[in-house]
Symmetry: C3
Subunit: 133 residues, 3 copies
């Protein structure tokens, strides 16, 4: 099962980084033409989501709504002050599974795969595995 990882460097407290190109490169390198790609985020204040990539306003709207619906004034017990970030991780999920067909990630017309930074800026990793099919 081909697998690997790559680094993502984030530059804001909250940021969605389009990682589709790096993931396509991983598939290209593997030589796999059909199967599944599993994308995994190993951090507890980040996530993986699939959403619109054409208009960057969608990503900033998602970040804005996350910041609004997760309260800052809750009496959090976790001392690091980043409990809202942990909550966003659980709401987003830590992985995504997408299809590989003819050597390409098969996404919907407007879809891109994003690494979601919820407690940056930081140096992060993305792990991936490919199942041949």
């Amino acid at each position: 099962m081909p697998s690997g990882q790559f680094a993502v460097s984030t530059s804001a407290h909250m940021e969605f980084v389009d990682i589709t190109t790096q993931l396509q490169q991983a598939i290209d390198d593997s030589g796999v033409s059909d199967g599944l790609l599993v994308v995994y985020n190993p951090h507890t204040t980040a996530g993986i989501t699939i959403n619109e990539g054409a208009d960057p306003a969608v990503q900033s709207d998602l970040i804005g709504v996350f910041a609004r619906i997760i309260p800052e004034d809750y009496p959090y017990k976790h001392r690091e002050g980043n409990s809202p970030s942990h909550m966003m991780t659980t709401l987003t999920g830590s992985s995504a599974t997408v299809f590989i067909e003819n050597g390409r990630i098969r996404l919907g017309t407007w879809q891109r795969i994003f690494f979601c930074e919820y407690d940056g800026p930081r140096s992060r990793k993305v792990w991936w595995k490919i199942l041949k099919g």
Copy 2:
């Protein structure tokens, strides 16, 4: 890896459509008796969830709570006016993975698999892949 897709036609702005029967049909057609089924939504204002199918009130309650917790009055930058729908997509997730045993999708007693429409009514697609195991 057997794969395919089918159409889902939605009739409301927000609607949960039970797609379990179509997915079971896909497994029947594939002849696979044990493995995994991956269900994938290629749209950025829709999702896939697994929840209770016995009482339709659960689905309408989920829709109602989504509409309540995602603000309508936020200063969204995305001009299409459907940023709340994109947010629901990220909160729900774009795929589900379920087990196949003895030729059947193995779900919990009350579970059904739903296509979640967040910006309908529209003509949608559901993609699937089956891993033999």
Copy 3:
């Protein structure tokens, strides 16, 4: 495809139970050294998440924020009174996919895998499957 299940007994209405040790045991018993582990929750008022395991305060903060953002005063139609629990299930997701390398679940430094009880206390099940790779 090695598969199995184990019981989880919860003791509160909402509770996150770390099931990483039971899942590692399943991998040990399977003898699989590399591949994927899919963890599945068959209940409609529970979920599976991956989040920080080092500080139990993170888990109690997640539970507290869930209880705060999902309204109790909404005019729910589902008569069992647990519609907020169903909503938490859809927000959390019903499964997780993690990597197996060298016979071990490969998690990030702070990650653990949790069964999320949203309508307990109850006797629950967790299902799993392992894909060799």
